[in-house]
């Protein structure tokens, strides 16, 4: 009789064991996460997305596999945890260029300061007097949509001479680009320059340009695209294969756009209206659309990044005296606001906003705005506390 009870007990345990999911952590809601692919990828594209995901999130570089010898991070994910915004732990410094044109400190290690080194090597130090700025990594989701916006659409949004008299004079960044990048569909060039759109100053043409440069400047990895070692300046063999870089670019292109939350909340809805009323939406454009993309899931889509991808004068308080490409030091590309409410989940629970993480809250970031955004900032200041809270709640819902 006793034996039967044991057998019965054992049989009871088996379904318990095989009903594993019942006791497992549940998958977070899709809107809580930044990672994940865009909808409607083909199966072949989904496989490629996963390959890029592994390279981006799991590939750690060591001295044996090409890290450095001088570097700022050991992997893509060290700067972009959870595909989100970076943390000051891996902030990086760019230096050497005060005015549009050429960086005069290229032979002294510019434009990026590799402030870390593998044992036995010395990292770079900032040359005395060199203009510089600190930067933290941006959110990387939804980049494929931004990449697929037609150049003409950016030109249509720009108003460099403020012809409409609204005090906002965004302009596209006409910049040179490396030979290895290919034209995006319907690209527009002028005097050998192209409309570039990635990076805090918008100096990068596309995601291949951005990715190959980041491997090289951030991790010290030479590639077919960027073969020069940041330490010796010598042209070296590739430390990463082209396929991997291509997969990472594909991954970045096909990361889904952040999903807004609480959009039915009355405060959020009121905040959204106020956001437009105080002219934040003049630069943080709520809606853009893509042109043709070889990735069908990105073609001719409307999306909501809250950016115009244009350069704007942000005033003296955000002017660090350093610039890139043909931007001025007081100009910054409008950063997309999508995903900003999830920034804390990739920044260790705290906000580090603006280009260098100096703003510790969304409100603080608003109050740092100057230049073309002074009018909006003042309108924000003029709101009641309730209205301010509604605006902040709306921004946090993105």
């Amino acid at each position: 009789m006793r034996m039967k009870s044991y057998l019965f007990g054992s049989l009871f345990l088996l379904p318990l064991f095989f009903s594993c999911e019942v006791f497992a952590p549940q998958e977070p809601e899709e809107y809580e996460l930044l990672d994940g692919p865009v909808e409607d990828l083909t199966m072949a594209e989904a496989k490629r997305f996963i390959k890029g995901d592994v390279a981006f999130n799991d590939q750690i570089f060591t001295a044996e596999t090409g890290l450095g010898p001088i570097f700022t991070g050991t992997s893509c994910v060290s700067c972009h945890a959870g595909d989100g915004k970076g943390h000051p732990f891996v902030k990086f410094t760019r230096f050497g260029q005060e005015f549009p044109g050429v960086n005069e400190y290229l032979k002294q290690g510019g434009p990026q300061l590799q402030n870390r080194a593998i044992p036995g090597y010395e990292p770079e130090t900032l040359p005395p007097g060199a203009p510089h700025t600190d930067l933290i990594a941006p959110i990387v989701t939804g980049l494929g949509f931004l990449d697929a916006v037609r150049d003409q659409d950016l030109l249509d949004m720009s108003d460099p001479d403020d012809l409409d008299g609204d005090g906002i004079s965004g302009r596209v960044h006409w910049n040179t680009r490396p030979d290895y990048v290919k034209d995006r569909p319907e690209t527009i060039s002028k005097d050998g320059k192209y409309i570039t759109r990635f990076g805090k100053k918008g100096k990068m043409y596309d995601l291949l340009h951005q990715t190959a440069d980041a491997y090289n400047q951030d991790i010290g990895i030479t590639s077919y695209f960027e073969p020069y070692d940041t330490y010796s300046g010598d042209k070296l063999q590739s430390e990463i294969d082209r396929q991997t870089i291509s997969d990472v670019v594909f991954y970045l292109k096909t990361l889904k756009a952040p999903i807004p939350r609480d959009q039915d909340d009355p405060d959020v809805m009121t905040g959204k209206a106020l956001f437009g009323d105080i002219q934040c939406a003049s630069c943080h454009k709520p809606t853009l659309s893509t042109g043709y993309s070889p990735i069908e899931a990105l073609s001719y889509k409307e999306f909501h990044p809250y950016t115009d991808l244009l350069l704007h004068d942000m005033g003296p308080e955000l002017d660090d005296g350093y610039t890139e490409g043909y931007a001025y030091s007081y100009e910054w590309k409008t950063p997309p606001l999508w995903g900003i409410g999830l920034a804390k989940d990739s920044q260790g629970g705290d906000y580090y906003l603006l280009h260098d993480g100096r703003a510790r809250s969304i409100e603080e970031a608003i109050l740092y705005h100057g230049g073309e955004a002074v009018n909006s900032k003042n309108l924000y200041r003029g709101l009641s506390q309730t209205q301010k809270d509604q605006v902040l709640k709306f921004i946090e819902s993105l």
């Binding site: 549940q26 998958e27 750690i60 050991t74 945890a81 732990f89 902030k91 044992p119």
Partner: protein
Amino acid sequence: MKISTLNSLKTHLLILGILCIGSVFAQEDSTKKVKENDEQELNMDAVFNRPTLSFDKVPVTLGGYLEANTMHRTEEGITDGLSFQARRLTIFMAASISDRIKFLTEIEFEDGGKEVAIEFAALDVAFHPLFNFRGGIVMNPIGAFNENHDGPKWEFVERPDVAVNMLAATLSNAGFGMYGKTYSGNWIFGYEAYLTNGFSSRIISNEEDKTYLPAHKDGDNLFEDNFSGKAMFSGKLAIKNRKIGEIGISYMGGTYNKFEDDGEAVEDQARVDVFALDWNTTIKSTGTYIVGEAAWIWAETPDTYTQQYGNKQRGLFMDIVQPIYKSKIFEWEDATFNVAARFDYVDWNVGRFKETGTKIGDQMLAVTPGISFRPTPKTVFRINYRYEWNTDILNNPAERAATWYMGFSSYF
């Protein structure tokens, strides 16, 4: 330690050969002498304290154990489904070469024989109970688990994180040293002290992206070359009261980097120091068995390197095992059902970010309740459920994972 990757055929022939030798001799003389736990034993005696087959007129004893299990892991709601694992087959063999001279070895086959590791292969020369020489491939006496890791002794499928992932168990190195024991009433005192090859720079440059002592084991020629050129010292003091329990204090440390190459200084010399405390006891009134280990690691890294690789780590595990039923079941005398629980904690990077002054994350916490059935002390069937939280270096919301295990481990 991984010594080489053999092809599958060679591996299977080796296993078959060892088992056949045992089988032939066992047929000639099937006398089995099974050594059981003894109150005289310390953790350091684990290499001797195993059930083995011995044969008349043949000065060789043979034994081993096999571990296999099923596993179902779910991480943040995503699972790869059910998998079956034959984690390890371990063979150990001892030979009395003459009075006072013994040879012992432990060879582990992992991943279906793709990896063969000599965990222990040493010659012991007994001069005096307090003074014995041991040389060869020795297990560094850090913590308790490293020397007392046989699967059938534990109620959990997974090995403790602090022991395996932080202290690199099972860690062995080429070297030599001394060990000994003495007794007084209920008290037993033991010590071990070895000089061996040390760690390598892999511990601060690896694909785990953190200071990770087990990365050292991925190196080549571990039993032939000493990466730093400096000996590593490892030693342990253990004291046991037969009525109370055992406590051990151990240390392991030395230079881990190649600071000179061809006579030229190429790096600043860097040390790694490891300190561990282990304990075990049985509460006589309830039969509750408690075992645990805490460890601290200090690894010197250049200030100009990345804080991704921390210079201080700490960790802890604690098992509580409660027998709940002991009786004859089928033909097994004293078959035992146990309930058990394990707590695992590792902080891979103790400290604060230079840039923000905020606390560095990179922590693991896990709790594992389980039940086990031991038809005999040599065999354990176990069901475990492990729930863990892993925090990244930035202290972002922890990734949660839950794993069910069902498996067995048995000496043979």
